[in-house]
Amino acid sequence: MLELNDVSKSFGGTAVLTRVSLALNDGETTVVLGPSGSGKSTLLRTMNLLEIPESGCLSINGDSVTFGGSLTRKQVSAIRRRSAMVFQGYNLFPHQSVLDNVAMPPVLNGKADRAASRARAVELLGKVGMSHRLEEYPDNLSGGQQQRVAIARALAVEPDYLLFDEPTSALDPELEAEVIRVMVDLARERRSLVVVTHNIGFARRVADRIVFLADGGIGFDGTPEDFFASESERIRRYLNVFDAV
């Protein structure tokens, strides 16, 4: 369970999230939709404490933090190890091989020794279809390949929740499809995924749940069926943009 309670976040006096509460269930794929600037990234980044809200609290499977005071390093790391983030820009470490990118983090986290971590990394890279490029450096890979390595890296630290912030927005359609395929597999395995995306097809086909952000709060929270059938003016306007293309 990932729970946000009454979370508020602003940037320089501009409120982005206003008293947002949300409870996500393990094993579900939640897709976060919303117009540009509605706070999707901010919401996702809060779950990993890349953004620290002014108030409210966050708990993930028994670890919790209350915002407002200062957080200890221990609290932050306890929450952080429960999720891992996949970024739009991949953010692989360019000086490390594909294999090292995936194998190093568990070792640094003290979760596994070098040999075990390498074996696991090879397995995860196989899962995302990257077995053939283990010793390659990230800059020599296509965007789709880099993103699949980034997904393997996120899986390597064994998070409860995988957080995706527009993982395919920088990719051409065919490369997008390879990444989406990997994400669909993860959803089928009943991993807990939170996905910010503009890929409406993915939301329609894969989401167990849709969260729609608008005006600093949650404008919709429910099943994809209900979402795509919604009569709400704001949701219709948002979806029309995609129908137009």
């Binding site: 952080r80 970024f87 983090p105 890296r153 630290v157």
Partner: protein, 224 residues
């Protein structure tokens, strides 16, 4: 021409001795210490503690903003007036360390800041500690980026050591000058001194390009 060559042959042992005894050790000692100072100044500059940032900025401002010759004079001739008397060697090491350190600190700061922010966020979400992030993400990349400009700082330092004669040290240039003053062959001698510097420069730029190539192996190759 034969005159020229025999002049060179006669004076070469003395010039090489001065190179080995002063120019090279001074350059090496000052450069190693300068790197330590530069790392320290960079850590202070990029720390979140304001007074440390100020100290670092002030240091770089002071030593980049004044000529090395003035720095040498202040340390060797000026400080005794304040009760601090240092040998020529100590003065030279201090001046060249602090001067080169200031340039190297700027180089390192720019290198660290050129690492994309996204990588630091990735390190945070992967729960790396601050030290692990420095050790495994920032330092290896910053050093690679800094290598060519640091090599240039070293080359500048070697040539700059020719100024130590003003504080009585007998480096290769000073010894060349002394010989020229006795045999009245300034052209031959100064040309010979220039050749010694060129030889050092050639070795250094060779090493520099080797190091760069070794550390660039993960950069996208032209074929890819």
């Amino acid at each position: 021409m034969t005159d020229f060559l025999s002049l060179w042959a006669d004076s070469l042992p003395q010039l090489l001795a001065a190179t080995v005894k002063v120019t090279i050790p001074l350059s090496i000692i000052a450069f190693v210490l300068a790197l330590v100072v530069a790392v320290l100044a960079t850590v202070m500059r990029l720390s979140r503690i304001r007074p440390l940032q100020w100290v670092s900025r002030f240091y770089v401002w002071l030593f980049r903003g004044t000529p090395i010759l003035v720095q040498l004079f202040i340390i060797f001739y000026g400080l005794p007036a304040a009760g601090i008397t240092l040998s020529a060697w100590t003065s030279a090491i201090i001046a060249f360390t602090l001067n080169t350190g200031a340039y190297a600190a700027e180089t390192l700061r720019a290198s660290v800041q050129s690492i994309p922010r996204g990588q630091l966020e990735a390190a945070r979400t992967l729960n790396f500690t601050g030290w692990q992030t420095v050790r495994h993400v920032i330092a290896p990349q910053a050093l690679r980026i800094a290598l060519p400009p640091l090599g240039n700082d070293l080359i500048d330092l070697v040539k700059g050591t020719s100024l130590v004669m003003v504080i009585t040290l007998a480096d290769v240039f000073q010894v060349g000058r002394q010989i020229a003053a006795t045999n009245f062959q300034p052209l031959a001698l100064y040309a010979e001194v220039a050749v010694v510097y060129l030889a050092i420069f050639t070795v250094l730029s060779f090493l520099q390009s080797r190091l760069e190539r070794a550390s660039n192996r993960y950069i996208r190759s032209p074929r890819a």
